[in-house]
């Protein structure tokens, strides 16, 4: 079985992003870029399935300009067998990303697709679900445990009420939650080996996927600064204060 894993290049989760002064976007110049943490978990899970003899090949895919090859190389160094870059300068929204993946799925015919539940740059949490619908295959989102046996995957999901365990027929789309696993460190000798692994570049235009962005962004603004709190001496003072603000 082949596993396809989506990898997105995002601003590192520890970087404090700043909105550009003109509100046209977020300033990422010179910022540290990493694999979206949920995608790293997705790849780790795929590698473990391969190491357990359940999968035979792990393919990482990223949609973006040539800079995302860096993250694909990291994926290869972690242990993926080969990589695909769908080359485009356009920042795709979830629906277009799902369509793009579907186009690749049609050629690759994977038995399982693992994606992160969301990317930490725009926090959409949509691509996996949309892909499953377009592909007309089952989905198991927010996975914290995955067991594959034969043609089914038993997936424990993190839902609002706690944990839910479901069974899905393969092929299917699984999206990962944080607790699924801890990704491995990249070994230096493996970075050198990764340079010799295949990385295929497909032009986005070649896939004939429509990119009708359905959301238009007109401007970006930083979150409002939280006002400094005040300390009150007693419960009575608190009540007075709340009343004076019309909150009580």
């Amino acid at each position: 079985m082949k596993i396809l894993v989506g990898i997105k290049r995002v601003v590192d989760f520890n970087v404090r992003v700043r909105v550009k002064p003109d509100g046209s976007g977020v300033d990422t110049d010179g910022a540290k870029m990493s694999i979206n943490p949920f995608d790293e978990i997705a790849l780790e899970e795929a590698l473990r399935l391969r190491e357990a003899g359940i999968a035979s090949e792990v393919i990482v895919i990223s949609i973006g300009d040539s800079s995302c090859q860096q993250q694909l190389r990291t994926g290869l160094a972690m242990g993926a067998d080969r990589a695909i870059q769908v080359d485009t300068d356009i920042h795709l929204q979830p629906l277009a990303a799902a369509r793009t993946m579907l186009a690749v799925i049609e050629t690759e015919q994977p038995g399982l697709v693992i994606l992160g539940k969301q990317a930490i740059d725009d926090d959409n949490n949509q691509t996996g679900q949309m892909l499953a619908a377009l592909w007309n295959r089952p989905q198991a989102t927010f996975a914290s445990k995955v067991v594959v046996a034969g043609d089914t995957a038993t997936v424990t999901r993190e839902v609002d009420a706690g944990l839910e365990t479901i069974e899905v027929d393969l092929p299917a789309v699984i999206t990962t939650d944080l607790r699924l696993n801890t990704p491995r460190f990249v070994k230096l000798p493996d970075i050198m080996k990764a340079k010799r692994k295949p990385l295929e570049v497909i032009a986005f235009t070649e896939l004939a996927v429509s990119n009708d962005n359905n959301i238009q962004i007109d401007h970006y603004a930083p979150p409002a600064v939280r006002e400094k709190g005040i300390m009150v001496d007693s419960a009575a003072a608190l009540v007075t204060e709340l009343k004076s603000r019309g909150l009580l």
Binding site: D12, R16, A31, K32, F185, K187, P189, M192
Partner: protein, 461 residues
């Protein structure tokens, strides 16, 4: 009775000064991170202003009351220990950060500001306070200045000393001094600020400081590497310095790694164990990192290694180094914090290793340190069944030979932890008698009645 009397007089003379004297507080505030002395302070007080500190010192002079300045109590040399009925003066209530000046990239901190809070404040301004070490969540800037704290980025950014541009101190004589007043350039004679930095509370109280901040470094990458031997560590250091813009270069032994993994329940970072490990941090540059690795691999120095791909992974890797001290605390380690010139490290280590193997056959010795600065932490673990006093005596016996070796290599018996109470008899191995005589005279100038942290740094004559 006498104690209660003293406390009553103190409270009567300084009624606004917050004071605690319950047995639990005395136990907590009477000791630092070390566990070799039974805490026994008179009481602990919490001043809130320069004026209160000054009034306290004047009172203490009259009453001949010994004072122990106390910060985050993470010290590793017993500097903040009060075991002889001293009054502990805690800076916990003096935590203001003010006067941030973007043009100068400077700010003012009260002594009790926690190191991590200063780092966070700097980050909020888009700047960087580079002094960093495992105890930064508790240690205070006053304590850092009093010990001239170093830590993991000395290699690139220097010591606490290099970031202090002004100090407000109250001397043991009760005078308030504004030292260097935030100036960058000031060629007007003796710089008393630098006497207070590293003075371990023996000259007076550090009440506030003007601190300079740095520009944040570019994105950083961390590598954890496995090595065969100590000479291999040093030759790796050489090539890492050539290829990389290093921020940190730390080493630790296999045993140290095992203790961290147990204590923090971390997986082994590499497949196979190795005698030594290096953790280095540098401006992200994967090509250069690979070059260092390939060369080390070809030379047979390097066995294996991993490299961080995100800042989260960089933090994970740091845990293997930062967790060491805490992971061995349960064994009441006897800590040696030695330094020699960087070029002398391999030779020194070799002799030291031999010495230790011969003299401590029954004790477990854990090595780690800021090897890029020539700083070696040698920790002897107490066997569970041995009583603390007996353990300290055996360590002191062996240490004599260790210190002689330090003397032979013209090194220091305390690289960054301070002399405090535990290393005061070792001072003579790295300072000449003439120098020690001058230190004593300096102390007398600032602290004529010997009320400031008496018995620390300099032993009683």
């Amino acid at each position: 009775m006498e104690r209660i009397n003293k406390i009553q007089i103190l409270q009567k003379e300084l009624p606004d000064l917050e004071l605690l004297a319950d047995s639990r507080s005395l136990q907590i505030y009477g000791q630092d991170w070390t566990r070799f002395r039974q805490p026994d302070p008179l009481a602990v007080v919490f001043p809130r202003s320069v004026d209160q500190v000054q009034a306290l010192v004047k009172f203490a002079r009259l009453e001949k009351l010994a004072l122990v300045p106390s910060g985050g109590r993470t010290g590793l040399s017993g500097g903040a220990v009060a075991a002889s009925c001293e009054l502990v003066v805690s800076f916990e209530k003096m935590r203001k950060i003010s006067e941030f000046n973007p043009l100068e990239a400077s700010l003012k901190v009260e002594a009790g500001v926690v190191t991590q809070a200063l780092q966070a404040y700097a980050a909020e301004q888009g700047l960087f306070y580079p002094i960093s070490f495992a105890a930064e969540g508790s240690a205070q800037i006053g304590g850092n200045i009093a010990t001239n704290a170093g830590g993991i980025r000395v290699l690139r950014y220097g010591l606490t000393r290099d970031w202090v541009e002004g100090l407000t101190v109250v001397t043991g004589a009760g005078e308030v001094l504004e030292l260097n007043r935030g100036l960058i350039k000031n060629a007007s004679g003796y710089d008393l600020r630098h006497l207070f930095i590293g003075s371990e509370g023996t000259l007076g109280f550090i009440v506030a400081a003007t601190i300079r901040l740095a520009q944040p470094p570019p994105p950083q990458t961390v590598m954890l590497l496995a090595l065969e031997s100590m000479p291999a560590v040093m030759s790796l250091f050489h090539s890492a310095k050539v290829y990389l813009k290093l921020s940190a270069f730390e080493f630790f032994s296999e045993q140290a790694l095992n203790y961290v993994c147990q204590h923090r329940q971390l997986p082994q970072p590499l497949e196979n164990p190795a005698p030594f490990y290096v953790l280095c941090e540098f401006d992200s540059d994967e090509e250069a990192a690979l070059a260092v690795f390939e060369q080390g691999f070809a030379d047979g120095n390097l066995l294996d290694g991993v490299i961080s791909q995100s800042s989260a992974q960089a933090e994970e890797l740091w845990q293997y180094r930062e967790g060491i001290s805490e992971s061995i605390t349960q064994f009441t380690p006897y800590k040696n914090d030695l330094s020699v010139r960087v070029s002398k490290v391999p030779e020194f280590m070799q002799e030291l290793d031999q010495l230790v193997a011969e003299s401590y056959p029954d004790f477990e010795v854990i090595w780690f340190g800021h090897i890029g600065d020539g700083n070696l932490h040698m920790n002897v673990l107490k066997p569970e069944t041995m009583e603390v006093g007996e353990f300290e005596r055996s360590c002191l016996l062996v240490n004599h030979a260790v210190y002689q070796l330090v003397e032979k290599y013209a090194g220091s018996v305390s690289a960054e932890h301070g002399i405090g109470l535990l290393k005061r008899n070792a001072l003579r191995f790295c300072r000449s008698q003439a120098e020690i005589n001058i230190l004593r005279q300096v102390k007398r100038v600032f602290d004529p009645d010997n009320i400031m942290n008496p018995g620390k740094l300099l032993n009683d004559e």
